[in-house]
């Protein structure tokens, strides 16, 4: 079913809605229904992830002047973000998956923190496992 604006119906169809069409709002925007409060947050998780990734690619990389290594480390952490909104990945694991050295990961993480693209929520310890990170798609300082 085609979706035509009222103007299109007037201009191209003599004001008569064709049988294979319905009208759409003249504002060329998909109307969105606000999610009912009862909906669990998980439902929005996928589109939020897409939006975060889009924001990172569109603005985050250039604004924070990320190096390829920093962007890779950010992506691995982003991949590992759980429903809690945080990622808990060891530096050796990041290094292996990103094809970097552990030293390179340490450096990239330090830079990402300094540039406001990653926050350390909980610092890792020898007997307590890896650090927990919050991954931000664009710079957030302070």
């Amino acid at each position: 079913m085609r979706r035509l604006t009222m103007n299109e119906v007037k201009e191209h169809h003599g004001g008569i809605l064709p049988p294979d069409a319905i009208l759409r709002p003249d504002v060329d925007e998909e109307p969105a229904r606000a999610a009912p409060p009862s909906k669990p947050k998980r439902r929005a998780a996928r589109s939020e992830r897409f939006a975060a990734l889009n924001a990172f690619v569109d603005f985050g990389i250039s604004d924070a002047a990320l190096t390829p290594a920093e962007a890779l480390v950010w992506l691995v952490l982003f991949r590992d973000v759980k429903g809690t909104g945080t990622a808990r990945t060891g530096q050796a694991d990041i290094a292996r998956r990103a094809g970097l050295s552990v030293r390179g990961v340490k450096l990239a993480l330090r830079k990402l923190k300094a540039k406001g693209m990653v926050q350390v929520v909980r610092r890792g310890q020898l007997n307590a496992g890896p650090s927990t990170y919050r991954v931000l798609p664009t710079r957030r300082m302070g």
């Binding site: 079913m1 809605l17 109307p31 229904r33 439902r43 992830r49 990734l53 919050r134 798609p137």
Partner: protein, 293 residues
């Protein structure tokens, strides 16, 4: 009792002659996102979902598109919950893209009135092939009205509320009989689309409409067995509703991913695959508040 059978020999000749003719059977054309629904004479299709889950809107969209795209089709809508004028409000809201509340409250702006006028004009050519059932809401009345109106497509919304016979049987028995009656409608050549209530699922913390499955249709397993196709309307992310295909006797068990604009009673196809990246609008400003995960 006189045995009533058809022998294989009787059947085979006529069946093969039909195959040889190569004439495809009637299948009603539908528009996206419901183009994949196999609606044709003899089919019983079930839509289930939680209250307010979009069953009525989906069925109306299928029904009205079917009427507009299939010139010979005749549709009987039997809705036990809404009077015909309220159903027309919804139909016009979708066709005109005017918010349903503005139509219901009759608070239309001149622009909206013009849109409604165009929608009514678009409905006029099919209005003679569309009928709404009034009370009583019994399947006998549906059968009589369907025959009288020569309907080849029927929408029943929703099946648990229709009575059968004198209504003295218990609910489960009534529903079992109802499914038998619906199959008879199909055998008589009608395509029957049915909305069905679902039962809440028990969880450790109470009951919920999440996690619906084929066994969730309220009342009777006859519904599961008797239907040709069964879809559950399940909320997806954002404004999405997935028609989760639980059964499809004659084809692939494919879900239908949609977006539902409740304000305008309109289902549209959900963006799929990489399109979802575009649907997830990139940050409009540099200071996006989006969070990873």
């Amino acid at each position: 009792m006189t045995p009533n059978v058809t022998t294989g020999a009787d059947l085979l000749g006529s069946w093969f002659a039909e195959v040889e003719r190569g004439e495809p059977p009637v299948r009603f054309k539908l528009a996206e996102p419901f183009a994949g629904l196999d609606v044709r004479p003899g089919r019983l299709i079930l839509f289930g979902g939680a209250p307010g889950g979009g069953k009525t809107a989906a069925l109306l969209q299928v029904g009205i598109d079917l009427l507009r795209m299939n010139e010979a089709a005749r549709l009987l809508v039997a809705n036990v919950e809404m009077v015909p004028t309220l159903l027309v409000d919804r139909i016009v809201s979708r066709l005109s893209a005017v918010p349903l509340t503005a139509i219901i409250d009759r608070t239309l702006t001149p622009d909206e009135l013009e849109r409604v006028r165009a929608a009514v004009a678009a409905l006029a050519p099919v209005a003679g092939r569309l009928a709404f059932l009034n009370a009583p809401y019994s399947l006998e009345h549906v059968a009589a009205a369907g025959t009288d109106f020569a309907a080849d497509v029927m929408i029943l919304d929703y099946i648990q509320r229709f009575t059968v016979g004198d209504g003295s049987d218990d609910k489960r028995q009534q529903l079992e009989t109802a499914v038998t009656v619906l199959r008879r409608f199909c055998d008589a050549g009608a395509a029957v689309l049915v909305a069905a209530a679902v039962a809440r699922q028990k969880t450790a913390t109470g009951s919920t409409y999440r996690g619906l499955n084929l066994a969730s249709f309220r009342g009777s397993s006859e519904l599961e067995y008797g239907t040709d196709s069964a879809y559950l309307l399940v909320p997806a992310e954002g404004d999405g509703i997935t028609l989760q295909c639980e059964k499809n006797r004659f084809g692939a068990v494919d879900d239908i991913a949609t977006r539902f604009d409740a304000d305008r009673q309109t289902f549209t196809p959900a963006p799929a695959g990489l399109d979802a990246f575009d649907a997830a609008t990139p940050a409009a400003t540099k200071n996006s508040k989006s969070k990873g995960g």
